[in-house]
């Protein structure tokens, strides 16, 4: 009476059930990011969205990407965003400045993006995509440091630019009249 790969009554693979659950969490939290009124809660919902995305990466046999997603996106970038919100938001300012001043433009952008995604999904020949493949971490590392050394080095220039930009911002804030 061992449980197989599919759930007993509904006949759906357990991995697919997990995928649907994670996708639902992701879409729900993504909606919350846009719809919630409290901007901090939006940021937290975004973290949930990232976490569900990391789960989907694992289901796609890419545990390293998932770990990077959690480490960088949740551990660093979300914290950066939370910091930014906490440091800048003030109840004294009018909420209209923060929220929904550009709803028309945003709607246009969203529709265009949706169209692009729909076209991309429709135009791809999904028959060519094979089975889910397992990317071994060390294979990935070998390829990265063998064939893609130059892009890898360029990443550091990008990061350098980010650091210098941050420092510049900080210094300007300090020297200028506030």
């Amino acid at each position: 009476m061992a449980l197989g790969e599919t759930a007993p009554i509904i006949g759906i693979a357990f991995a697919d059930i997990l995928f649907v659950m994670l996708a639902a969490v992701m879409l729900g939290s993504a909606l919350m990011v846009v719809l919630l009124r409290d901007i901090i809660r939006s940021g937290l919902a975004m973290i949930v969205c990232f976490a569900a995305l990391a789960g989907i990466y694992v289901l796609l046999q890419a545990p390293l990407v998932a770990a990077a997603q959690v480490l960088v996106y949740i551990g660093a970038i979300s914290v950066l965003i939370l910091f930014a919100i906490m440091l800048t938001q003030t109840k004294a300012g009018p909420a209209r400045l923060v929220f929904q001043t550009q709803s028309a433009a945003a709607a246009v952008a969203a529709i265009v993006l949706a169209l692009v995604v729909a076209v991309a999904v429709g135009a791809t020949d999904w028959g060519e995509v094979g089975e889910r493949m397992h990317t071994a971490t060390d294979t990935l590392a070998r390829v990265l440091f063998d064939e893609f050394v130059l892009p890898f080095e360029v990443v550091s220039v990008l990061l350098l630019a980010a650091v210098i930009g941050a420092v510049y911002l900080a210094k300007r804030e300090e020297s200028g009249p506030s």
Partner: protein, 442 residues
């Protein structure tokens, strides 16, 4: 009877109804198991993967509060002894139950939400912090084979979930609607992200040597002699990791998160009751987990410092037949008498019953020692878990010792130290290791 019932509070009534109900239910459960046990066992064996998962998760979650209690007691008692105080000595032998009583007390305290707080975020913050510290235990190898899940990105997973606690601290600080909380949350977040970089970079030299991120393989590489432990090949990495781990666990001298002389209790200022309790648990579980990771990475984890001579005591109690029963009946009596004799003979003032009690206690100690010794020799995991826990609690002791000894540092020193000293030092360690590998070759 009815008057006593009427005097009970509502929670008391609930408890007094639930407890007999649970008793009846457990009796029923025993009967069910007795009747359908065989069939259930078959199902369990067929789905051994699920059973393993359930057991692993349950053990990890249920072991978290007791280990926190042990560390809290250690902290109270050891710091007291270092301060020439008595420390806890009322509840249980040498006060050992005091932290448990504290835990129960916290369970019964009012769990209060301030008016200005954001209720949902306020409730989720301790959960996030607690989970961030407990989830690391999923990849810690406690003994050969005793690891919940040997992920091949284990170490990266550990640091990734450990980083989640920053989010929890920010949530707690923000949602409390209190300036101390917000300052404490921001401070601890800044501290943790600053020390996470040296923490993660200090183990890279070790990763180069090990060639894997799976913690189980890292431990297996560090045997059989203690000279194979990575601490001897990575001394600088070990020191950096230890300092950064202290800061990550928010321990003295880096406990600015709850610098009570400056910001009351930091992010936990507005918390009370069980939600505060989970912050408290998380802090002490963090100490345990960080010590465990330190031991796993640098001090050989469950490896004994020297290979134990290969002997397997072949015991087959069944072959003794009737003598087994006789032995069980006779050996304790004879051994008690034999062990009691010296007590009785050495001092004439000792009454016979005291000598008997002493002999019985001594026999028990010896018997337990013998059983443990046989278990140690015959079962790898017993030896493994003993060494692992011994080393881990040695480091827990060091953390407590530091709290008893070192003063808290200033926040500018704290941040400067992470970025100006630890980060360059860990990079130096990394490249020196890499250069050594290049020079020596494989």
């Amino acid at each position: 009877m009815s008057r006593a019932w009427g005097r009970l509070t509502l929670p008391g009534k609930v408890v007094f109804t639930l407890v007999p109900l649970l008793l009846v239910l457990s009796v029923a459960l025993v009967i069910v198991i007795a009747v359908f046990g065989g069939a259930m066992l078959d199902i369990l064996v067929a789905n051994v993967g699920i059973v393993r998962f359930l057991v692993a998760v349950t053990i990890l979650l249920l072991l978290a509060p007791p280990s926190a209690f042990i560390i809290i007691y250690m902290e109270m008692k050891i710091i007291a002894l270092m301060n020439l105080r008595l420390g806890p000595d009322r509840v249980g032998p040498w006060g050992t139950l005091l932290s448990t009583v504290h835990g129960l007390k916290v369970l019964m305290k009012e769990d209060f939400t301030p008016t200005g707080a954001d209720r949902i975020v306020f409730t989720w913050a301790p959960i996030v912090v607690f989970m961030a510290s407990v989830m690391g235990a999923l990849v810690i190898p406690f003994a050969p084979g005793l690891i919940a899940q040997d992920l091949n990105v284990g170490l990266l997973y550990f640091f990734a979930v450990g980083g989640l606690s920053v989010v929890g601290l920010l949530m707690a600080g923000w949602s409390s609607y209190n300036k101390y909380s917000l300052l404490g949350g921001l401070r601890s977040a800044a501290q943790m992200i600053s020390y996470e970089i040296p923490l993660t970079l200090s183990v890279v030299g070790l990763l180069i040597l090990a060639g894997t991120m799976s913690l189980n393989t890292i431990v297996e590489n560090q045997g059989p002699w203690f000279t194979d432990w990575y601490v001897f090949q990575q001394p600088l990495g070990f020191v950096i990791f230890f300092i950064a781990a202290t800061a990550e666990a928010n321990r003295t001298p880096f406990d600015l998160t709850e610098a009570d002389s400056e910001i009351v209790a930091g992010f936990a200022t507005e918390y009370s009751g069980m939600r505060f309790g989970f912050f408290f648990f998380a802090e002490y579980i963090n100490v345990f987990i960080m010590s465990a990771l330190l031991v796993t990475l640098f001090l050989g984890g469950w490896q004994a410092p020297f290979p134990f001579p290969e002997l397997h005591i072949a015991l087959d109690p069944g072959s003794l037949g009737i003598w087994l029963l006789l032995g069980i009946a006779i050996v304790p009596v004879v051994a008690t008498l034999v062990l009691a004799a010296p007590f009785y003979l050495l001092r004439s003032s000792t009454p016979w019953w005291q000598a008997l009690i002493a002999g019985f206690l001594l026999f028990n100690v010896l018997a337990v020692g013998a059983v443990l010794g046989i278990a140690y020799v015959n079962f790898d995991f017993v030896a493994g878990i003993l060494w692992f826990m011994g080393k881990t609690y040695a480091f827990v002791f060091v953390f407590v010792w530091m709290r008893g000894t070192l003063p808290r540092i200033r926040i500018d020193q704290l941040m400067g130290f992470a970025w100006k000293w630890l980060l360059p030092a860990s990079l130096v360690n990394l490249f020196v290791t890499a250069a050594a590998i290049v020079v020596v070759g494989n």
